[in-house]
Structure formats: structure tokens, C-alpha cells
Assembly symmetry: C2
Homo-oligomer: 271 residues x 2
């Protein structure tokens, strides 16, 4: 997916919502557990209900992997089911030495046909570059994450800047706003402006809105750029809005609520 195609979808749907698919057998509606493939059936219903309001879906590979080969098959089916106009972000946080990263890239970009993959920066250039060689595919690099542990290393001072700012600066030598975006947590709103000033033209994938306490208005105020530049992810608040037979309707209502909030912002962007 190109950046232009993503922006077109944002404009069309008046939304920059990304729905996180974290299917947990302990949390999904019990009636789905009787089906042959509960992970897929759950995700399918969530995708059907929310795709008119979302421009991206983010399957979290851990929730599939923990069921082994069968879970991996459910992940493949889920990714294949997501409508083509939506960006598929495989949330796998991969990253390894060059030839291994190439295999991970093939896994998610060729085999699964995902549009984007979350990647960890610790191993540096040659762990990230292989993912950037795939046409119309995206690296979503961890910059400033939304968890408590982010402060352990990401906020460490390196030559008068934070480590995450070095990650932002260095990685812009590897990719461009056409194939690289950043994970920027919404839980430390005061930092979002710092990230934006380091990477004015890049898209950010922003987790942590909703269940993790982040606030959409603050994210837009400090994080948006003229082209939007944001994909705001919500997982639990949408997919677990209900665990009854009405779960898909409840998810739809939550997604619609977020889309409605986003709509007025989208109209003000220069798209």
C-alpha cells in the first residue's frame, strides 16, 4: 500500500482508526469457542463490523502464535480476510541480523501479504534495512512505546537527547515517509510533540488510546501533521466491548464512536 492510497482511505472514511486484533480465548465470546476456528471467527466478525470505520487492522501475532501451527493458520486466514483497501499491520516486533530479517520480511510481506510490520530497532541498520527493500511495504519502527518499561532505555540520555530521538534520526537515513512509520505511545502526550518535531513528515502508529489511558484529542493536537500522519490504534476498547452474542455490534458501536471523533479532525487536514 502506498502512502497516497492510505491517505485516500483516511479521506474517504474520515477516519485514521486502526483496529487491533488481539484474539484471546479467555476473553472472546464463549459461544465462539464451539466453532472450528474461534480465533478466525472472532476476527472475521470484528473485521466485518468495523472495517467501514477503520483504515487499518493490526493483528498481534502473539495471540495467534501461542496456539502453534493452528494459530498461525488462523493468522493467515485473518490477514487474507481483511479488505484490500485497509492497511494490514502485522504487529510482530521482529528484528534480527540481515539474512534473518530478510526471512521475516518474506514471511509477512510475501507469504502473508501484510502491508506493514512492526520492527524493533535495537540491532540497528542491517536489522531494519531488509524490511525496507519490499515495494509498497512498510516498517513500523518502535520509537517511543506506551508501556511503563519505555523509560528504562528509550528515555535514556544519549548525547543530550533521548535514545528514542536517536532512533528517529538514525532511521530516517534508512527509510522515508513512503515506507517507514513509527510506534509512538499515546500515554505520554507531552512526548508526542517531541517525536513529531523529530519526524515531521512520517506517519505514527499510536497505541495506548482507550484502554491504556491515552486521549485522542491530545494525540491529534500534538501528533498530527498536515496530512494527518496518524494511525490511532484501539484494540481492547473495541474488540472486547462486549463478550456476549452482540460483541460484533458492540465493536461496531465503539469503532463508529472513534470514527465520529476523528471525522471533524480529518476535515481539517490538508488531504
Amino acid at each position: 500500500m502506498t502512502k497516497a492510497a492510505l491517505i485516500e482511505q483516511i479521506k474517504l472514511k474520515e477516519s485514521f482508526l486502526c483496529v487491533g486484533l488481539d484474539p484471546d480465548l479467555d476473553k472472546i465470546p464463549p459461544h465462539l469457542l464451539q466453532t472450528e476456528d474461534p480465533l478466525f471467527e472472532f476476527c472475521k466478525a470484528i473485521i466485518d463490523a468495523t472495517h467501514p470505520y477503520a483504515v487499518a487492522f493490526k493483528p498481534n501475532t502473539a495471540f495467534f502464535e501461542c496456539h502453534g501451527a493452528a494459530g498461525w493458520a488462523s493468522l493467515e486466514k485473518t490477514i487474507a480476510y481483511i479488505p484490500k483497501e485497509c492497511m494490514v499491520i502485522a504487529d510482530a516486533k521482529r528484528g534480527d541480523i540481515g539474512n534473518t530479517s530478510t526471512y521475516y520480511a518474506k514471511t509477512f510481506f510475501d507469504h502473508m501479504n501484510a502491508d506493514a510490520l512492526t520492527v524493533a530497532p535495537y540491532m540497528g541498520s542491517d536489522s531494519v534495512l531488509p524490511f525496507l527493500q519490499f515495494k509498497n511495504k512498510w516498517v513500523v519502527l518502535l520509537a517511543l512505546t506506551s508501556n511503563e518499561g519505555a523509560k528504562d532505555f528509550q528515555l535514556s540520555a544519549v548525547n543530550g537527547k533521548s535514545l528514542f530521538e536517536h532512533v528517529l534520526e538514525k532511521s530516517q537515513e534508512w527509510g522515508s515517509p513512503e515506507n517507514l512509520m513509527y510506534v509512538v505511545g499515546a500515554t505520554r502526550a507531552e512526548d508526542i510533540a517531541r517525536v513529531r518535531s523529530c519526524a515531521p513528515d512520517y506517519f505514527f502508529l499510536v497505541p495506548g488510546v482507550g484502554a491504556q489511558g491515552g486521549d485522542l484529542e491530545t494525540v491529534v493536537k500534538y501528533g498530527a501533521n498536515a496530512e494527518c500522519g496518524l494511525l490511532v490504534n484501539s484494540s481492547r476498547a473495541i474488540i472486547y466491548a462486549s463478550n456476549g452474542v452482540d460483541f460484533a455490534q458492540a465493536a461496531k458501536n465503539e469503532a463508529l464512536k472513534m470514527q465520529a471523533q476523528m471525522s471533524s479532525h480529518v476535515q481539517r487536514f490538508n488531504l
Copy 2:
């Protein structure tokens, strides 16, 4: 696997060799491509041939994942096939927010029954701690890796130390030499002593010996501690020693050669 059990194996086999399982369909002997599960058949033959000389096996998940659900099934079979006395290190470089890391830990420690998992430190404490909650299971945390990109962030100066030294110091608050070891690349031998001085009692998993240019004698000189404290990994030099029908015998010869080099060192450790 406990640390005592690992040391017992090192003593018994006079070896601290870890064989890396990176099965690449472009490199494995062509006659195996006719079998139903070439990835597994290749790994099985390598395990059969080398396990008398190795105390650990390290399947690299990327080489299995790139074949999708079928590859994942081959990984499960491969891990299940490794003799119980050998440590299984799943080289997956996972790491995510807490509840997601818990799912990754379940995947590799419960579902697959691996003994250890490589983990990336960038997201900090709550991304690593979930892996340390599993009894007799190990985190192998990336500290100083063997690739060129290691210098991008790992060698950055943070308050007068390198980032990798902060990772070593901070993570010792989370785990102990009984459940935590470190990835320490052999390509920068002069750094191995620095890592050892930061973590005197911990085991290191050392990649980069052989194909990547590292030297065993240097690694032992600067990296060993009284209890050995080293698992030296070799992947390509062993598993791709030949791609003919004699590949297993060739792998055995290479593993034996490394074990013979290691033997004299093991006799000098205090085991």
C-alpha cells in the same frame, strides 16, 4: 532446564557448543526437497549427527515462519525432536508490552517446551519480566549483537557507558544467573571482556564464531568465567558444511572439531 543441569552437560560432553538450526531451502541438500517435510528432515539429521557434541540447539524461528503454518509445524516437530538433555533456545527475538510478552512466553515455553528464548530489550522491564516468570526457563537478552548495525544504538554513550552496558546492569535487577543470559557477539572480541566485567556470573550465548569471523580462543580468553559461562553458537559452518548426501556426516565432523577445541578449556573450568 536449570543452570546446574546445563553445567552438568557441559562437563559431561566437554563442550559448550550450541548448534544453530537455520534451515534454508536454498541451501539444504537438494535430495531432501523431495521429502514431505524438508525443514524437519534436515534439522532431524543435523540433530542426530551433532547432539553428542552439543549442549544446546538454537532453532531460528524466521527460517520456519517464512513457510507459514506448515513451517511453524516443522518448528514444533524440530523442537520436540531435540534430546531432552540439550538446551533448546528458540531464537525469536521477541519482546512486547506485558500481556503480549506473556503470550509469547506461553508460545515458546508452554506450547513448544523450549528452555530459552532470545528477547529484545528496547521496550524495557515489563516487556522482559513476563518471560522470567516461568520456572526453569531462560531469557537470552540481546546485549551486544554480532552484526554491523550493533554500533548504531548498542554502542551509544549513555551517561559515560554504552547502551549495552545499561542493558546488562538494568536487566540484572529483573533476573538472575539462574534464568537470564545474554547474547554477546564474538565479532568484537575486545568488547567481550567489558560485557564479562558487567555480568560476571551470567552465561553468554555467543554467535558469530565461524562464518561471521569470530574466534573461539579469544571468546574463551575474554568471555569465560570459572563455571564456563559460555554457549558458543555455530550455525552455517556446521549445518552447511556440505550440501551433498553426506551433509550430516560433514556437520558431525565440524561439530566434533569444535567440541575438540572446547574440550581442553572445559577441563580447566571449575565444574
